[in-house]
């Protein structure tokens, strides 16, 4: 090992040690006898007990690594200690669940200091860049999840508050998750089928393209909750006037208005990016196509569409990620989905129930974002990959 010369000191890992240290010193978790009581706060150090030296060892390792010369070793040390931080987070929760008082269903809830370790893990792993190879993301995901799952298996994880909430409503959780997925997929699917032709049409209209973009930009600023609210009254009136619509489920409250609002919302980035994507195709490319004797449909399918595709796909990505979050808000008007658990948790002041809704929601949003990122990387012609879309 070569110690770095002055000036080569890497400050980033120290920025990871700060949140990590907060996890150890500040209240990491609350030990509760049941769902309602306040619970006893425990810091990371208190939970680790005799195993403290491991945590301190990891920290010293990171500190020493930041003085190393820029080598592969340093990155490996960062990545490894990042993984250790993540595993430590799960392990501390399991340790804590052994300290729980006797009771019908005692539980351990994460307190605010809990989030320091995952933040430290993120900073270290992101900075190490050792997982930046092909399918490196999947390797990382396996390395994060597999040991955590092993730690939690055999009933060791069942006292963690989110798990308690989950096991109390396994069936409902599954049902709400499926409802969430179905709502968001239907909305994005419908918006894609409507939005791309609309965008193509608007881009062909010449001047109307710009006004479509400005209309869409304005509509995008309307809060999702306001859009749900504004659609309620007209839909309720429609279903009163036409009993046939009522049998189809068109009412002021429920899945129908949510679906309509979600589709409208998802339309906006798709239409916008289709128009922008088609309009940024340089005239020279079109003229070259014309000069080669291409017919208008050939010109569209072989020149304009491939060149607009990165923009269109970026629009789909934006629409999908937004739709995941907006579907949660749609629970307010009775659409169901993960938002139901979040809002119920807010209503009952039950943070554990909120977490049961929020964690899968965030994972779903990040997952959808990553899947689209992968699709964009794979489908866009390499010559265009520098173009990138504006969301």
């Amino acid at each position: 090992m070569i110690i770095a010369k002055q000036g080569e000191f890497d400050p980033v890992p120290l920025a990871a040690l700060l949140p990590g240290a907060i996890s150890l010193i500040a209240p990491f978790a609350l030990l509760k006898e049941n769902r309602v009581v306040d619970g006893i706060p425990m810091s990371g150090f208190q939970l680790a007990g005799a195993w403290n030296w491991i945590l301190i060892g990891v920290f010293i390792l990171v500190f020493l690594a930041s003085f190393l010369k820029k080598t592969l070793w340093r990155s490996v040390l960062y990545g490894g200690s990042g993984l250790l931080c993540f595993w430590a987070m799960a392990w501390l929760l399991v340790r804590g669940s052994f300290l729980l008082p006797e009771g019908a269903a005692p539980r351990i809830s994460p307190a605010w200091g809990f989030w320091g370790l995952p933040i430290a893990a993120y900073v270290l792993i992101d900075h190490s860049r050792i997982f930046r190879f092909r399918f490196g993301g999947l390797v990382l995901l396996t390395l994060l999840i597999l040991p955590t799952a092993l730690l939690f298996s055999g009933g060791r994880g069942e006292a963690i508050s989110v798990m308690r909430e989950w096991s109390a409503r396994k069936d409902r959780f599954g049902a709400e998750f499926v409802v969430h997925l179905r709502l968001f997929l239907t909305a994005v699917g419908g918006a894609t089928l409507l939005g791309i032709p609309l965008g193509v049409q608007a881009a062909r209209g010449g001047r109307s393209g710009a006004s479509v973009v400005s209309f869409v930009d304005a509509a995008q600023t309307i809060p999702s909750m306001a859009l749900f609210g504004l659609l309620m009254a007209p839909l309720a009136a429609l279903s009163q006037a036409f009993p046939l619509l009522r049998t189809l489920g068109v009412r002021g409250i429920g899945a129908a208005p949510a679906l309509i609002a979600l589709t409208l919302y998802a339309l906006l980035p798709i239409v916008r990016n289709t128009v922008v994507g088609l309009e940024q195709v340089p005239d020279s490319a079109l003229e070259a196509g014309l000069g080669m004797g291409m017919s208008p449909p050939q010109l569209f399918w072989r020149v304009q569409w491939p060149m607009a595709l990165p923009y269109v796909l970026t629009g789909l990505k934006t629409a999908s990620v937004q739709a995941v979050g907006n579907t949660a808000v749609a629970a307010l008007i009775g659409a169901g989905g993960l938002g139901m658990m979040i809002f119920q948790g807010l209503g009952q002041s039950a943070p554990d129930l909120i977490l049961l809704g929020v964690i899968p929601l965030v994972l779903l949003a990040v997952g959808v974002d990553r899947i689209w990122g992968f699709v964009i990387l794979r489908t866009v012609s390499p010559g265009l990959s520098t173009v990138g879309g504006d969301s």
């Binding site: 609210g229 504004l230 309620m232 009254a233 949660a328 943070p351 990040v366």
Partner: protein, 251 residues
């Protein structure tokens, strides 16, 4: 240079103003609401005047956007200086990741830790709306023509002078677009904040949903939608005038 207002813009603003007036004055609002909602017992939200709720909403959104602007520009500047440059990839990655998290989730996560009320919602709004300001500050400061920066250094300007007199003014249009995005996001998320007891225009929506009173829902929804449209329009015009200023400075 001021661009003349087109006929459509004028009509749009006039209609918007008219709606706003109707919404803000209860004695006009009540008969207007009883036309589409004849069966509503109490068409106007009784707990607080809509004008007060609108002010609360505006204050919450703008205060959060102001704090987010200070933090976002500060972090953006720090990450583009020579000393902070090692943090730049990390800041970029973290900001991109955080932006995929739905605003409602940030709000829901903040509440168990900070409690119900105005302040936790403010905190959640600030956390989320830092991201567009930060992103745009980075984009604005990173994409400056190097010739301009070299010319400034060649003139003997200190780093601080280059930042204050060259970099920030040139990046201003991009940064202000980020601020506009953050204000608009805040107006939207603040509506959901009513669930956490933050007040504002979300409270008639939430109360209307609970009490099955569509007239209340409509008031809150229409007023918050108008507020978002107005703020977006006003800030957009400001941006355009700033952009034309910095273009003059560029040439």
């Amino acid at each position: 240079m001021k661009t003349p207002w087109s006929y459509r813009q004028f009509l749009g603003s006039a209609l918007g103003m008219l709606f706003m007036l109707i919404l803000l004055i209860p004695s006009i609002l009540s008969p207007v609401l009883s036309v589409p909602f004849p069966e509503a017992q109490d068409p106007v939200f009784p707990r607080k005047m809509l004008a007060v709720l609108a002010l609360e909403h505006l204050w919450l959104s703008l205060a959060a956007a102001g704090l987010a602007t200070i933090i976002g520009i500060g972090v953006g500047i720090a990450a583009t200086r020579p000393a902070g440059r090692t943090f730049l990839p990390l800041v970029r990655d973290a900001s991109a990741l955080a932006q995929t998290v739905p605003p409602a989730a940030v709000l829901a996560l903040a509440i168990p830790f900070v409690g119900f009320g105005f302040q936790p919602v403010l905190l959640a709004l600030v956390l989320y709306s830092v991201l567009p300001v930060l992103d745009n500050t980075l984009a604005g400061l990173e994409n400056l023509p190097s010739a301009v920066l070299e010319a400034a250094q060649g003139m003997g300007m200190t780093r601080f002078q280059v930042l204050l007199q060259i970099e920030l003014p040139l990046a201003l249009p991009v940064i202000s677009a980020g601020i506009r995005t953050s204000v608009v996001i805040n107006v939207g998320t603040a509506t959901i904040g009513a669930l956490a007891g933050a007040g504002g225009l979300g409270s008639p929506i939430v109360a209307g949903l609970i009490r099955d009173n569509p007239a209340w829902v409509f008031q809150g929804a229409a007023a918050s939608a108008l507020m978002a449209l107005f703020l977006n329009g006003i800030l957009g015009r400001l941006e355009k005038s700033w952009a034309s200023h910095s273009k003059v400075e560029k040439t």
